[in-house]
């Protein structure tokens, strides 16, 4: 994953497109399925994960010569847990409503395998710039994937698109009340998450294989 000679930008782009943590690596499925019922939840979740990812990669990368190999997982977990706690408290203080909706899924970022995977695969072996590029790329990729799911599910299921805006959320789109009987209620429910994720991954795969085929020909 982390080739010796790849540029930092390549590492960044890889996280968003070629190696998207959700749509390609299928990591971090728990928040992907659980909190993507609105765009707002997806964006806030994505921001929280990006923050933790960046900070944990930063700390791990700086400490990489001090960390003994046999205790590295412990160090990763403690680092991640610290920043997850910070993220959780910040959300509770500033965006209480959203924090309530996200429920246990913010603390659960601790066990999100994307973060520990990036620490183990990139940050422990690479310098600061590259680790940060990787963290931002992966974070953006995660947020993008979650936002796509969140937007599809919210517009079909609730007929609106909300953006996080501090204490109150901003309505980007609000379909008229006449939409109500036509809302796809399944999209707000867990099965909607599975169906949407499956369809989106299918489309992404279709595009990727077409690209591979086109490149070969």
């Amino acid at each position: 994953m982390a080739e010796e000679n790849g540029s930092n930008f390549r590492q960044f782009r890889d996280g968003v497109i070629g190696n998207n943590p959700v749509l390609v690596q299928l990591l971090g499925m728990c928040p992907t399925l659980a909190v993507t019922n609105t765009l707002e939840n997806a964006l806030v979740m994505g921001a929280a994960v990006t923050f933790v990812l960046v900070m944990s990669n930063l700390v791990t990368s700086l400490l990489r010569h001090q960390i003994k190999p046999h205790v590295r997982i412990l160090v990763f977990t403690l680092t991640i847990a610290t920043f997850v706690t910070i993220a959780d408290l910040v959300l509770k203080a500033n965006m209480y409503e959203v924090s309530k909706k996200l429920g246990p899924f913010v603390p659960l970022i601790i066990v999100n395998c994307i973060i520990i995977c990036r620490a183990e695969v990139v940050a422990i072996k690479n310098g600061l710039a590259r680790s940060l590029a990787d963290a931002f790329g992966m974070g953006l990729g995660f947020t993008t994937a979650l936002s796509i799911l969140g937007a599809i599910r919210e517009i079909l299921g609730s007929g609106s698109l909300t953006l996080p805006g501090g204490a109150t959320s901003l309505k980007l789109v609000q379909l008229p009340a006449a939409f109500e009987p036509h809302a796809w209620i399944i999209m707000v429910l867990p099965p909607g998450a599975f169906l949407t994720l499956g369809v989106v991954i299918g489309i992404v795969n279709q595009l990727r294989y077409r690209k591979v085929k086109g490149g070969a020909a």
């Binding site: 036509h182 796809w184 209620i185 399944i186 999209m187 169906l195 299918g202």
Partner: protein
């Protein structure tokens, strides 16, 4: 998949024909019966005609629009799926998408918004059939998956039952449509009058488009059974189990409706003759088919009597579809002159 797919590489060594059309041939003797998928599906459509006529009589225009919409949706989804997978469009003419569309339409409320029915048709083919690899590969009955999707997606619209037009009168004037409780809904609500068995048998009650008339279902279904297009085993297993279950329940607690009511109400008949006899989702072994029918009948009655939903045919079929591989494992038949086959 237009080029020779890599999947068949192992087969190539065994001198199997290349390409997606390669198939394994079972041991001799081979006897060509002349039946094709198209022939079977055409007969199923013929068997559905009485139901359609009954639906046209009871629901008029709705019964014309809904089936056309769902069949169109199924055909379009099938064509798009074929195009996406790089397959030829032959599967459009084998009739399976048409049958799926018709069964889906007949299991929907007559007054459903046609665009919702369209979504149901697309889901049936795209999510329940094409994704698993097309006809014969799907785990679950496509029409029932489509209906389940609509049921969860639009619970309000899927719960509005209009009275048959022939009944829709207030005083002496005919009206466009009147909503009413279905017989099964009535059975759950003591304040609503239960229709007579004769009305139930003829279909002069509220319900899904094609399922209300037990008479029409019997005509079409028995035609299929006598043509041997539909196997009698799941039909008998399902109806007999439901009958016995309802009889026992009625005996123990007379508040439950009697067995004849449960046979004629809702989609019990329709499910038994047209859905439980599905070739793909049901087991292929003879004993397995009986077990499948028994399972569906028992689950339907359990859901009807003790569940939150008034009707359970859809869920019963889907649950038993999921159990089909297990049933097939249990009921591998002994070949003629052979030893007991090892399971699996």
């Amino acid at each position: 998949m237009s080029e020779a797919p890599t999947v068949t590489q192992e087969n190539a060594n065994a001198e199997q024909p290349q390409g997606p059309r390669s198939f394994l041939v079972s041991s001799a003797p081979h006897l060509a019966s002349g039946t094709s998928t198209r022939c079977i599906m055409f007969q199923v459509v013929l068997g559905l005609v009485p139901l359609w006529l009954a639906a046209l009589y009871f629901y008029r225009l709705d019964a014309l629009i809904l089936p056309l919409v769902t069949v169109a949706a199924c055909l379009i989804a099938e064509a798009v799926a074929n195009a996406m997978r790089g397959r030829d469009q032959r599967s459009l003419t084998d009739g399976s998408a048409i049958v799926t569309g018709l069964i889906l339409a007949f299991s929907l409320p007559p007054d459903l918004n046609p665009y919702m029915a369209f979504i149901g048709g697309v889901v049936s083919i795209a999510l329940a059939k094409a994704i698993f690899g097309g006809l014969g590969q799907n785990l679950f009955n496509p029409a029932m998956v489509g209906r389940a999707f609509l049921m969860i997606c639009f619970p309000a619209a899927m719960g509005i039952w209009t009275e048959p037009v022939t009944l829709a009168r207030i005083g002496d004037t005919a009206v466009d449509g009147v909503t009413m409780a279905t017989p099964l809904g009535a059975a759950m609500d003591p304040s609503v009058l239960i229709p007579s068995l004769w009305d139930l048998f003829c279909g002069r009650v509220g319900g899904s488009l094609g399922e209300t008339s037990a008479l029409a279902v019997l005509i079409g279904g028995l035609f299929l059974v006598f043509r041997r297009v539909a196997d009698w085993r799941p039909v008998l297993g399902m109806l007999a189990t439901a009958f016995v279950y309802a009889a026992i329940a009625h005996r123990i607690n007379p508040e439950f409706e009697g067995p004849m009511f449960h046979l004629f109400a809702g989609s019990m008949m329709f499910g038994a003759f047209f859905i439980a006899t599905d070739y793909v989702g049901a087991p292929i072994t003879p004993v397995g088919r009986i077990l499948f029918g028994i399972g569906v009948g028992g689950l339907v009655m359990t859901i009807r009597l003790f569940g939150a939903y008034p009707e359970g045919v859809m869920f019963a079929i889907l649950i038993m579809n999921a159990l089909t591989p297990l049933i097939e494992r249990w009921t591998v038949p002994t070949p003629f002159g052979g030893h007991v086959a090892a399971a699996g």
